[in-house]
């Protein structure tokens, strides 16, 4: 049994895992890249070791180095977080071979679920419904895919076999544009995963993305912690998640049916530890297995908030060989939780990533608010890693209360230095369709625009005009001030240019 855990990750999730370890009385070891020397995960952990230069492949993806460090500092276990090495079967295997507990599933489960074609074949055998597509056909060339596309029917999706997070994914509406999109998907898959294989999948229209959190111990107990609604996405990146799902809501029969199928899918690969089964659900409440994420999810807090289960602590307990502390009957969802992903992306400029130093940050607090983050004033948002700054999670007795609370928390959230998508979330909270829970996975891209979300909401162009004028006025005054002081021996022109350089 281990007493020291190495966290092979960075950012908010590394901090989240360190917190769980601390509360369990376990020692923590952080690893970091040259860009992250001052990061919170380094400062919060008991020990910290440098991995290498900033790019992930030279640091957080250096599995060999990470295992060496774990051995040297006598850590007994490695928690991979999400992303980086979390879903690499070879890394999980290497940990085992080095005598380290991998806080996650068995390498064989990662491998089975990691190859989407194999995953679909496996769960189909266990009686779990899947979306029509080129499942289990192995690696197909473009010619074969172009041949099969009309049989599946358009619109369809091209997806990377080794993929995740929307990378290597393209939507195809006609056979004419398919060759070009296939090429783009393969290129992106090749550079992201080192594997250019793709498959086709029917696009379920009006679909919702609903997923089930699974916990499984080494004794063979498998339970689910209810669902999360993750339909609000942009370019297949989730932006907002909630639990319960407004679509499932009080249809407990559907919830239990989906939950049972999710448990069966996990059992099909002999799953151990925390995992997530993703489903696509159509308007008629038909649901299809999409994929299994064999790791902790970014959005795990919404489940924690409504069930009261600390998923990270459960992961660690399971890895220590303990039996699950809950049976299925113990799990109930109480109230409503919503999570907004606060990203360094400018919603007013096509969601382009924004980098820079966070000069000022004021986080929302107060009743029912949780913020998971790894940033602080002075922290540099670099182009090397993903754009997630923090996760803002609120709880409410009802969905309405949670929405109002989220609105309040977003208004309190102040961050200076990089542009964030907070204004996007604020508009979303004001949107009638969101409030009514009427949205699908296409909502953000097709039916939601920042301008159209006005919907008769009060605007303040006059206040904005006064603010802009006052700031501009102050600046002119300050400039004039410098010019007036001609008692200096240098010319005013020099002073102006110095002042201008300072303002750049």
């Amino acid at each position: 049994m281990f007493n020291k855990v190495l966290i092979a990750n960075r950012g908010e999730i590394a901090v989240r895992i360190i917190r769980a370890c601390r509360e369990l009385g376990l020692q923590t070891v952080a690893v970091y890249s040259e860009a992250d020397r001052q990061a919170l995960h380094v400062r919060y952990s008991d020990e910290a070791f440098l991995l290498g230069p900033a790019p992930s492949r030279d640091s957080y993806l250096r599995s060999d180095k990470i295992i060496d460090i774990a051995r040297e500092c006598k850590a007994g276990a490695i928690h991979p977080g999400y992303g980086f090495l979390a879903e690499r079967a070879d890394f999980a295997q290497a940990c085992q071979d080095a005598g380290l507990a991998f806080i996650g599933p068995k390498p064989s489960s990662i491998a089975a679920m990691g190859d989407k074609a194999v995953a679909r074949a496996t769960v189909t055998k266990a009686g779990v419904p899947v979306v029509p597509g080129t499942e289990g056909e192995g690696s197909l060339n473009d010619e074969n895919l172009l041949d099969m596309a009309p049989k599946i029917g358009f619109p369809l999706l091209v997806k990377a076999t080794a993929g995740g997070g929307g990378k290597g994914m393209r939507e195809v509406v006609s056979i004419e544009e398919m060759p070009g999109l296939l090429q783009a998907a393969r290129r992106e898959a090749e550079s992201s995963f080192g594997d250019g294989n793709v498959y086709l999948e029917k696009l379920v229209e009006g679909a919702r993305h609903i997923e089930f959190q699974i916990l499984a111990d080494t004794q063979g107990n498998v339970i689910h912690l209810g669902e999360r609604e993750c339909s609000l996405q942009r370019r297949h990146q989730k932006l907002l998640e909630e639990s319960p799902s407004p679509f499932v809501n009080d249809d407990d029969e559907l919830r239990q049916r989906m939950g049972k199928v999710a448990v069966r899918a996990a059992q099909a690969v002999g799953y151990v530890n925390a995992g997530t089964i993703e489903f696509l659900v159509d308007k008629e409440k038909n649901f299809y297995f999409l994929e299994m994420n064999t790791r902790l999810q970014v959005e795990h807090p919404v489940t924690e908030v409504v069930t009261g289960v600390d998923i990270v602590k459960e992961q660690i307990r399971i890895a220590r060989g303990r039996q699950l502390r809950y049976s299925q009957e113990d799990i109930t969802q109480s109230g409503w939780a919503i999570e907004c992903r606060i990203n360094a992306e400018d919603p007013n400029n096509n969601f382009l990533p924004s980098t820079g130093q966070i000069t000022h940050i004021l986080l929302p607090t107060g009743p029912g608010v949780r913020v998971d983050t790894g940033v602080f004033p002075g922290f540099e948002i670099s182009p090397y890693y993903d754009s997630l700054i923090s996760k803002l999670i609120v709880w409410g007795e009802t969905r309405a209360e949670a929405v109002l609370r989220m609105r309040r928390a977003l208004e309190e959230y102040k961050l200076v230095g990089v542009r964030t998508n907070i204004p996007f979330h604020q508009r979303l909270m004001d949107s009638h369709r969101f409030m009514a829970g009427q949205f699908d996975t296409r909502f953000v891209e097709e039916r939601f625009s920042l301008e159209a979300a006005e919907e008769g909401k009060e605007t303040h162009p006059d206040i904005a005009a006064i603010l802009a004028t006052l700031v501009a006025h102050q600046q002119t005054q300050r400039a004039a001030h410098i010019i007036q002081r001609n008692e200096r021996d240098t010319s005013n022109w020099k002073w102006i240019s110095r002042w201008e350089r300072m303002q750049r």
Partner: protein, 165 residues
């Protein structure tokens, strides 16, 4: 001091009377205006109403982020406005187009060569930033001029990548 401040299509006549008073379209208001901890965050109390906003300077003027909404603003005094009106505005884009990097990132690939003919919307460069690949496209027809970058180069924001003549 009188200013004409344009928010989107709307013009406002804003007069800064003194430290505590402004007039907007002739209506005088009592104000208390502070910058919060020396940041571009401003707190404005106007006739007792409290507002907090970010005010940034941009290439085109000012940007006010207020209650989750971005208001682009142009602040001019009367002389500046007359000057702009006289110059006509709206210069037709001609000559060389410089493709600038919209963000810091890594060049994944350059899909064109110098002297190549390109059409509007053709992908010129693929840039990776924050784990996302972004296709940078040509805004118009033309011929690729000088290419200043190579695959696997790191680029800064606003760095010129190549030009289209």
């Amino acid at each position: 001091m009188k200013y004409i401040t344009t928010i989107g299509e709307k013009e406002f006549l804003v007069e800064v009377i003194d430290e505590r008073h402004v007039a907007i379209n002739g209506e005088t208001c009592l104000i208390d205006f502070e910058t919060v901890s020396d940041q571009p965050v401003y707190s404005l109390l106007i006739n007792g109403q409290s507002y907090e906003a970010y005010v940034y300077q941009s290439d085109e003027g000012w940007q006010v982020l207020l209650h989750g909404r971005l208001y682009p603003a142009v602040v001019e005094d009367e002389r500046e406005k007359r000057l702009r009106a006289a110059s006509g505005g709206g210069v037709v884009e001609k000559g060389e187009y410089h493709l600038k990097s919209p963000m810091p990132g890594l060049v994944v690939s350059v899909l064109v060569i110098e002297g190549q003919k390109v059409g509007k919307g053709d992908v010129l460069v693929i840039l990776e930033s924050m784990k996302m690949q972004n296709e940078l496209k040509s805004p118009r027809d033309g011929v690729v001029g000088r290419i200043r970058i190579r695959p696997s180069d790191s680029v800064e924001q606003k760095q010129t990548l190549l030009s289209v003549v």
